[in-house]
């Protein structure tokens, strides 16, 4: 078991010298293959900044973000974008599906952006939809689906191809509790069965409890965690 996502001493400062906002201060977080980690904290505690830095959408002010051993800071923008498309999947609260595209076309999108041939992309996308248990909705448009179904499409888009990291920002926020639980079950299964490293940002303790570990952010600092620590030999292996 190895650390797929390894965040070391990460700090992110927004704003200029006059008004500096320290969104994150010296955060360490390592996520192993097959592990689901929940990040909890009040609004403004830095949860979403942590997620965007982890996914290469935002650049740290200092510290390192290693994805599969690659330090994002050492890669140029093009390489980061490629890594993002191939290795990292995002799930958002409001799904972020493109309404003019069908479910399968939405799921194909990251592969097509990565120049995969349409026929191959479609095959992978259909497989991903089958994995989230909605193969029959492939040709349906997002507007003709329930919230839970849309989130499944979004998860299919996040796992299509060979992704190693799944980053979810309040993925159950727009869903009723039963549908939300089903989505968590799905995220959990991805980690358990496919060795994906998952990071789940949530303010809902009930949903955080699905994770192997829960870490708590307060004012940009990690103040504690629940659940087992990584085994000692893993720490020795990566450090």
């Amino acid at each position: 078991m190895s650390m797929i996502l390894d965040i070391r001493n990460l700090s992110r400062v927004h704003g200029t010298s006059g008004q500096k906002v320290h969104a994150l201060r010296g955060v360490d977080l390592a996520v192993a293959s097959g592990e689901l980690v929940a990040v909890m904290g009040p609004s403004g505690s830095g949860k979403s900044t942590l997620l965007t830095c982890a996914g290469g959408l935002d650049r740290p002010t200092s510290g390192e973000v290693l994805v599969d051993g690659n330090d994002l800071a050492t890669l140029n923008a093009k390489a980061v974008a490629a890594l993002r498309r191939r290795r990292i999947g995002y799930v958002f609260q409001d799904f972020n599906l493109i309404p003019a595209l069908t479910a399968v076309e939405n799921v194909m999108l990251p592969l097509e952006l990565d120049c995969t041939r349409a026929r191959t992309a479609r095959k992978y996308a259909e497989a991903a939809l089958a994995e989230v248990a909605i193969p029959e909705l492939a040709d349906r448009f997002p507007d003709h689906m329930s919230g839970g179904q849309r989130q499944r499409v979004a998860i299919a888009r996040a796992i299509v191809g060979d992704r190693r990291i799944l980053l979810a920002d309040e993925p159950t926020g727009a869903l009723d509790s039963d549908t939300g639980e089903a989505v968590l079950q799905l995220l959990r299964d991805r980690c358990d069965q496919h060795g994906i490293a998952g990071v789940l940002v949530t303010h809902d303790a009930r949903h955080a409890a699905w994770a192997d570990r829960v870490v708590y952010l307060r004012d940009g600092v990690l103040v504690g965690q629940s659940g087992p620590l990584p085994e000692v030999d893993i720490l020795l292996e990566t450090r």
Binding site: A205, R206, A209, D212, Y216, Q225, S226
Partner: protein, 196 residues
Amino acid sequence: MSIKHGLLALLRTEPKYGYQLRGEFEAATNSTWPLNIGQVYTTLTRLERDGLVQASQAGKDDDGRSLYEITEAGRTELAKWFETPVTRESRPRDELAIKLALALAVPGIDVSAVLQRQRASTMESMQELTRLKRIGRDGEISWLLVLESMIFSAEAEIRWLDHCEAMLSRHRRSAKTSTASKDQHQPEDHKAGANQ
């Protein structure tokens, strides 16, 4: 926890032996509240004294154990139990609330750390309960309901802790502001400030 009403509920359909009642009670709650056989027979004796059950005419088993059946009065009592909502009487001693109150009252205690330790610990039990729920998702619905009940109360505790933390930081901010403005405008009015 009403063992009395639990036993009455299990007797509703047919007469049963004490050891049967114990087994069925534990099965329904997946041993969340283990009963020892002594508790079962003590409770049955009281129920019999109160006329809510009776030792059945059908007689005893080979080991001389009585078969118990529910009486009409017992059925009425059981119906009343199901109809009456459970009241949330304050627990006689809520250790956590007392601990937090004292952490605030006694100088030199890091209340935020107390809150965080409690939150982490409650979350760990919630993670364990959720794990049990995942494993048992195709199992007995009665057991899943019991699990959910425990998950919801753990969740309520975490929400309460979050709420306490937010209240505390708001309180500290306003205390700071009022001290600051007092320092500026009424440096002599120490006593009034302390009493607020």
